[in-house]
């Protein structure tokens, strides 16, 4: 069920713990049917934010609205629409995969009739169909995370909170997890995911960057790139002897805002433009007309999000200083 208007709304939500940890003045709006990623250094307040949104914590100031209700006082109907993948494996090591899943389904009041079919489908979705009788303690880390996800999906929630669901698992499995998340989003679900792998934010529709308990940036992945780099970047490789001429020609063009030469790769240039796809034919034509410049390759450059995050956080720090 998708509600009209924001599915999540935080207005100045504040929760401070005695050791100065917590979150401060959080403002956030999430539209239904999207994947929202929350990134930030360890201890920046990601888990606290999720706990505020799931009703585990109550804010000391401000308001938290999820599916139109205050989660800490939310009724049964609200809770039945929420799926939660906690940061740690919270399921039982001495129960089998099936028993764990069945237990969580019962907690959500899933009727016995039709439950079996639904649980089988969920297990198939997270690729655990062949491990139903394995005990929780015998599962690998990745399987435990998938079981956690299955438990969160068992009752077919509208809104799914996943707190670092890909922590500690291999890159292949992480990719699969995001495939699952995208499928859920495409099926109309809303996902709120925290991650410590900055590169994963590329899978999100909206990304929040947290620092010291504050949500410092909220934007799309492309928007983050633009913020960090001042636009989009085209990577050019020209013959090294003509790289100076190429840079000078590019800097004179009005569509180009910045040109940088790579120190460790002679002839490589990073050109910042407003829109890479529009600027690319213009740049190639310009350099083709510039004497002494021979272009070898030209492509849109997408720097790793780790670099983008570091840049953004530095910019943010500089702004506060």
């Amino acid at each position: 069920m998708i509600t009209s208007g924001p599915i999540i709304e935080l207005r100045g939500a504040t929760l401070r713990f005695s050791d100065d940890a917590g979150v401060e003045e959080l403002n956030l709006t999430v539209e239904p049917g999207t994947i929202v990623g929350l990134i930030g250094p360890s201890g920046s307040g990601k888990t606290t934010t999720v706990r505020l949104l799931t009703g585990v914590y109550r804010p000391q100031a401000g308001s938290v609205r999820v599916l139109g209700q205050t989660p800490a006082r939310g009724n049964r109907r609200l809770r039945q629409q929420i799926g939660y993948v906690p940061q740690l494996f919270t399921l039982y090591p001495t129960l089998t995969v099936w028993e764990n899943l069945n237990f969580v389904a019962s907690l959500y009041g899933m009727p016995y009739l039709g439950r079996r079919r639904r649980l089988k489908a969920v297990l198939e979705f997270v690729e655990l169909s062949t491990a139903t009788q394995r005990l929780g303690r015998d599962l690998s880390g990745g399987m435990q995370r998938r079981l956690s996800l299955a438990c969160a999906l068992a009752h077919d929630p509208t809104l799914i909170f996943a707190d670092e669901p890909t922590a500690g698992i291999d890159p292949v499995l992480r990719t699969r997890f995001w495939e699952h998340f995208r499928q859920l989003r495409d099926a109309g679900r809303t996902l709120f995911v925290t991650t410590q792998y900055v590169g994963e934010v590329a899978n999100c529709d909206q990304v929040g960057v947290m620092r010291d308990g504050r949500l410092v940036i909220m934007d799309s992945p492309d928007g983050l790139r633009r913020r960090a780099l001042g636009g989009e970047v085209v990577r050019l490789v020209v013959e090294p002897q003509g790289s100076r001429e190429a840079a000078q020609a590019l800097l004179r063009h009005p569509a180009v805002s910045d040109v940088r030469r790579a120190r460790d790769e002679p002839g490589a240039l990073f050109v910042t433009v407003e829109g890479a796809s529009e600027a690319l034919p213009v740049i190639i034509r310009l350099l083709g007309e510039t004497p002494g410049v021979i272009v070898r390759t030209a492509e849109e450059y997408q720097p790793p999000f780790d670099d983008i995050l570091v840049t953004l956080l530095r910019q943010e720090e500089g702004r506060h200083v």
Binding site: A72, T90, Y92, Y112
Partner: protein, 489 residues
């Protein structure tokens, strides 16, 4: 509508599955107490402890027969040595070779004759209050037995005197009868001698303790003897004055009194000395036949103890484990009340403990442990004891921050239960406020109920049910409040 039931049943199933996946735990919970009970039954010898004793009996002390003393001491103590040297005996005591030294005084008879009690010293080197109580009791019993034996001997000697007086009485009576009938010449000198001799003996008998202890009317006999003395005095004077003829009436009265006293002295002589010394003997009857042997007697308490211990341990680890595992966070997000969590856990654990208790009870049957009362009532007490103990366990769990803290508190409750539940030490022996503490322990009422039901076949009184119910309710509400505060901050 059925969701709360479904949620409670989810915990029921989860707890049962979790426990059954730990067969070693189940086996140790079941066989552990059974083996302990069995070892107790095989090994416990009960009764008084075997205490080793040394006797110091000064040389030449003849009041107490050494052979008799050795035999008597051997009944209560294991006699290690008998000697005259006090120093050696005390050395044995200091070295721990004996538990008690008995020192008899050298001048028992002289002291008694001086009207003093002759004290027998009992020396011990004991730190165990219970052993000390045994030594004091056995010392008292031994001295009482020695005193009794002395009295029996004295009573026998007094009976000999009474029998001798009987002969004298018969002699005087025969002479008086001859005087009255006038059939033969009376030897007045012999009669006077006999009268004087009887007078003296009657005086001694009148003050003898024997007449107060025999199967006779002591007061009347004493009156008769005093009257006889007066009669004999009068006859003695008449004989001296040669005026016996004038005292015919007194002669007749004296003869009648002598006849009556003869039957009394005859009765005194016929009584066994032990009856004279100990006229009362204890006769014991147990309405249930005989008391149970210690193993059987402790079986209901062991069953109650097991039920309480498992319930408190499971309960105390339960919530804290969910919290440490992180599952509590899942419960907080899910449409689930803490009440459903607790009710489900109560259901699961009560079922599991019920199975364990039934299995243990079945194992007890071949050991001769009876189940005389209604099986439903036994099941009811076990169920209520389980609920009360689970309540205490959940409260501990809600208060604990770690598993080790929960285990520590559970062990503390176990220790409290051993001392203050009446398991070994009767509650009546405690100071009233401490007895109140005992009443707050589920085991106290579990033991009361199961002892009554299993060994007497009688239903426990209302207070047992009420107390268990009250502890169960307080535990449940306490856990609900304390855990609720932590969950919903």
């Amino acid at each position: 509508m059925f969701s709360p039931i479904m949620r409670a049943l989810a915990f029921f199933g989860k707890e049962i599955n979790e426990v059954r996946r730990q067969p070693r735990l189940v086996l140790s919970l079941l066989l552990g107490p059974f083996v302990i009970l069995l070892l107790f039954g095989i090994g416990y010898r009960g009764g008084q402890p075997t205490l080793q004793a040394a006797i110091v009996l000064p040389e030449g002390e003849a009041t107490i027969d050494q052979e008799y003393l050795t035999q008597l001491t051997g009944a209560n103590f294991e006699l290690v040595s008998v000697g005259a040297d006090r120093g050696s005996a005390e050395a044995l005591l200091r070295a721990g070779d004996v538990d008690v030294v008995q020192i008899f005084p050298a001048d028992i008879e002289e002291r008694v004759l001086r009207g003093e009690q002759a004290a027998v010293e009992f020396m011990a080197n004991e730190i165990d209050p219970f052993t000390e109580q045994w030594i004091q009791y056995l010392a008292y019993a031994q001295i009482s037995e020695i005193n009794r034996e002395i009295l029996v001997r004295n009573a026998g000697a007094m009976q000999d005197e009474a029998r001798a007086i009987g002969t004298q009485l018969a002699d005087v009576r025969t002479q008086l009868e001859a005087f009255e009938s006038g059939t033969e010449n009376l030897n007045q000198a012999r009669l006077q001698e006999s009268v004087r001799s009887l007078r003296q003996a009657a005086g001694a008998l009148a003050v003898s303790a024997l007449i107060a202890r025999g199967d006779v009317d002591g007061e009347r006999t004493r009156e008769q003897l005093l009257a006889l003395q007066a009669d004999l005095d009068a006859l003695d004077q008449a004989l001296s004055a040669g005026e016996l003829e004038r005292e015919r009436e007194r002669v007749s009265a004296t003869r009648e009194r002598i006849s009556e006293l003869e039957s009394t002295t005859s009765a005194l002589g016929a009584l066994p000395p032990t009856v004279i010394v100990s006229p009362l003997a204890a006769s014991y009857q147990n309405m249930v036949g005989t008391a149970y042997d210690p193993m059987v007697f402790y079986a209901p308490s062991v069953l109650a103890m097991l039920v309480q211990h498992i319930a408190i341990t499971l309960g105390s680890l339960s919530l804290v484990r969910e919290r440490l595992l992180g599952a509590t966070e899942l419960f907080q997000v899910a449409p689930l009340s803490l009440r459903s969590v607790l009710v489900g856990k109560y259901l699961g654990y009560t079922t599991f403990i019920g199975i364990i208790a039934a299995a243990l009870a079945a194992l007890m049957l071949p050991l001769g442990v009876p189940f005389l009362g209604s099986p439903w009532a036994v099941a009811g007490i076990v169920a209520l004891l389980t609920l009360a103990s689970l309540g205490v366990g959940f409260l501990i769990s809600a208060l604990s921050r770690s598993e080790s803290q929960a285990v520590q508190l559970s062990m503390l409750i176990l220790l409290l239960s051993v001392f203050f539940s009446g398991f070994f030490l009767p509650l009546q022996n405690f100071w009233a406020p401490v007895r109140a503490l005992g009443q707050a322990i589920p085991l106290t009422h579990g033991i009361d109920g199961l002892l009554s039901l299993m060994l007497r076949g009688a239903p426990p009184d209302g207070t047992t049910w009420a107390a268990l119910g009250a502890i169960a309710a307080v535990g449940f509400l306490g856990a609900l409040v304390v855990e609720g505060r932590q969950l919903y901050r």
